[in-house]
């Protein structure tokens, strides 16, 4: 399907449009960061600590007098960066593993998929914690840990698609025309397995942002004084009865971001999965 047609189908319904708009605003917020923040996000002012939301501080202030809105704005950059880099790591590693396993089959497939099974046997959060126990806490290491956790899912999805594509006539034709493996994989296989990978990328971004927030919440991800939504929640937890705003707004930011990625992922799946696409076309249903 052409990109134009995909986009037209994707944005037929209002939910995908709203999700895309929310994500566009988030990306813009992350890019503009400090220029958009009304106050200094890291500067402390004990005289105005734990102030409720007001005209001057829309989201109130924290226990050190820092503006919560400014910290939420700067936290967008951290969350999106960690999420994007982590998914980038798992995307590159997983797709490469899946391509090799699916295309070459036999012992290459056996070895790579059993390794993937081993990684898959660990519950995601626990795997990330174990990796961070070795590497030490911090946002860079959190990216690596989350990247490792989500690699097997990309490997499995890619391999499954490659298994069917490699039997297609055009791949056999390219092979009989004397094309090398690298050329066949790059020119004929990879472009035809992108649809499920795109869908998985959107869904994984949601879970990566959630994982980063969870790791920062328990003190293993982004470290203070950097504003991270998970870290802010952890700080707000201790003051939840005196200053609800400290926990409510960073949590809402995580929730809205993850929801937007999930909704967009679902909409992409509807469009890129031919069975769903056909159902949409016959029923005229939109999301």
């Amino acid at each position: 399907m052409r990109a134009g047609e995909t986009l037209r189908l994707l944005f037929r319904g209002p939910t995908a449009i709203v999700a895309a708009a929310v994500l566009a605003v988030l990306v813009l917020t992350a890019v503009l960061g400090e220029r958009l923040a009304p106050h200094d996000a890291t500067g402390t002012d004990v005289s105005s600590r734990l102030q409720a939301p007001s005209g001057d501080h829309w989201f109130g202030t924290d226990e050190l007098g820092r503006d919560v809105l400014s910290r939420v704005i700067l936290g967008a950059e951290v969350s999106l960066r960690v999420g994007a880099v982590a998914v980038g790591i798992s995307l590159v590693a997983g797709v490469l593993i899946g391509l090799l396993a699916g295309y070459y089959g036999r012992w290459v497939d056996d070895v790579l998929m059993r390794l993937s099974d081993v990684l898959f046997a660990f519950p995601a959060m626990l795997m990330a914690i174990a990796v961070l126990a070795i590497l030490g806490p911090g946002s860079t290491n959190a990216m690596i840990a989350i990247g490792i956790v989500y690699t097997p899912i990309f490997a499995r999805i890619t391999r499954a698609s490659v298994l069917s594509v490699r039997e297609e006539v055009y791949v056999k034709a390219a092979r009989s025309a004397g094309a090398g493996d690298l050329r066949i994989i790059g020119r004929h296989v990879l472009p035809n397995v992108t649809a499920p990978i795109i869908v998985q990328t959107s869904i994984s971004l949601a879970f990566a942002i959630l994982s980063e927030a969870a790791l920062s919440f328990v003190g293993l991800g982004t470290q203070p004084p950097d504003p991270s939504w998970g870290r802010m929640l952890a700080e707000g937890r201790g003051f939840v009865e005196q200053a609800w705003w400290m926990a409510v707004f960073p949590g809402l930011a995580i929730f809205v971001t993850v929801l937007a990625f999930n909704v967009l992922g679902d909409a992409l799946r509807d469009v890129l999965d031919p069975r769903q696409r056909q159902a949409m076309a016959t029923s005229g249903a939109t999301r």
């Binding site: 081993v118 046997a121 519950p123 959060m125 174990a130 328990v218 929730f255 929801l259």
Partner: protein, 317 residues
């Protein structure tokens, strides 16, 4: 079936071997001396030497691995660097708390999923379906640690109905045990409930289109009886297996929820082990979670193969 079961069992054993290599590697990959990292530079030399010998760190790595895995097979995961207690006893102490939380969470998930998924399937493209779809999407996206804090804020802080954290053993005071369990169980059960709602919806929708349902309706059977005896009975059988997978996720996925509610389970033990660099405890907890996860998945696959003979044929080919 037997051939499939044996093949699936052999796969699980192979994966378990790989898992144990990775868990063993935790101690090897820690930069520097893991015991020095745990005890600090001022540690008593005798304690340090005793722990080093007990952990066998002076042996060659392959010997260490064989000894470690041999001991692990007999339930000996070593001793805690911090407390000197055996890892097994520390883990066993925590099992009841984690198990009760995971089971309560799956009950919450089913209480959400069965009514909501069924109503949604019976009213496709109507407001209730739209509401179920939105709730399910929201349930999947809400961070459990944030939901936990919000529940504490409302039900413990503002209303004062329930305790904000802690654990009471069932044998000690059943009522207080239940009161402490409600908020963590809701927190942990919401995302599983969201996943199961989608499953129940599609399963009921599929069941509604079956010939025997149409026949029952044509016979003039009451709508409620058709739903109870023909639709739900068939639609909910596969829920046993999907629920099993969710329980496996919950057993190992309640780590952060335990942290929020100071729930003394295995997840909290793992966190404490990371904080205090108590690597044998971390290894024991991670290995146990992975084994539970593998075991439940194996049982679910076998149960599914028993329920659906096509699985067996496909795999045996």
């Amino acid at each position: 079936m037997t051939r499939y079961a044996l093949r699936r069992l052999a796969q699980s054993v192979a994966v378990l071997l790989g898992v144990s290599v990775l868990v063993f590697a935790i101690m090897q990959l820690v930069p520097g001396d893991p015991i020095r990292a745990a005890l600090g530079q001022q540690a008593d030399p005798e304690t340090y030497q005793a722990l080093r010998e007990r952990a066998g760190l002076d042996d060659p790595v392959p010997v260490q691995f064989v000894t470690w895995i041999g001991n692990a097979l007999t339930g000996d995961f070593g001793v805690s660097f911090r407390t000197g207690e055996t890892v097994l006893s520390l883990i066993l102490e925590r099992v009841p708390a984690t198990l009760s939380l995971a089971v309560a969470a799956i009950v919450v998930a089913l209480l959400i999923a069965i009514p909501l998924g069924t109503l949604s399937a019976l009213n496709p493209r109507k407001p209730v379906d739209w509401f179920a779809s939105l709730s399910s999407q929201a349930g999947l996206s809400v961070p459990d640690f944030w939901l936990g804090i919000m529940l504490i804020l409302v039900f413990a802080g503002t209303l004062g109905w329930l305790p904000s954290a802690g654990y009471v053993a069932l044998t000690e005071d059943p009522v207080d045990w239940a009161r402490h369990l409600i908020l963590p169980a809701i927190t942990a059960g919401v995302s599983s409930g969201a996943i199961l709602t989608r499953f129940v919806r599609s399963s009921v929708l599929e069941s509604l289109g079956q010939d025997h349902v149409r026949t029952a309706r044509a016979k003039g059977m009451r709508a409620r009886d058709v739903l109870t005896w023909h639709v739900l009975r068939n639609a909910l059988v596969p829920l046993v297996t999907v629920g099993g997978v969710q329980l496996a996720y919950l057993l190992s996925g309640v780590v952060v929820v335990e942290y929020v509610f100071a729930w003394p389970g295995l997840g909290q033990l793992a966190f404490q082990a990371v904080e205090s660099r108590d690597y044998p405890v971390l290894q024991g907890a991670v290995l146990l979670f992975a084994v539970i996860f593998l075991l439940v998945n194996l049982l679910v696959d076998l149960a599914y193969a028993r329920l659906d003979p096509r699985i067996t044929y496909r795999s045996a080919r």
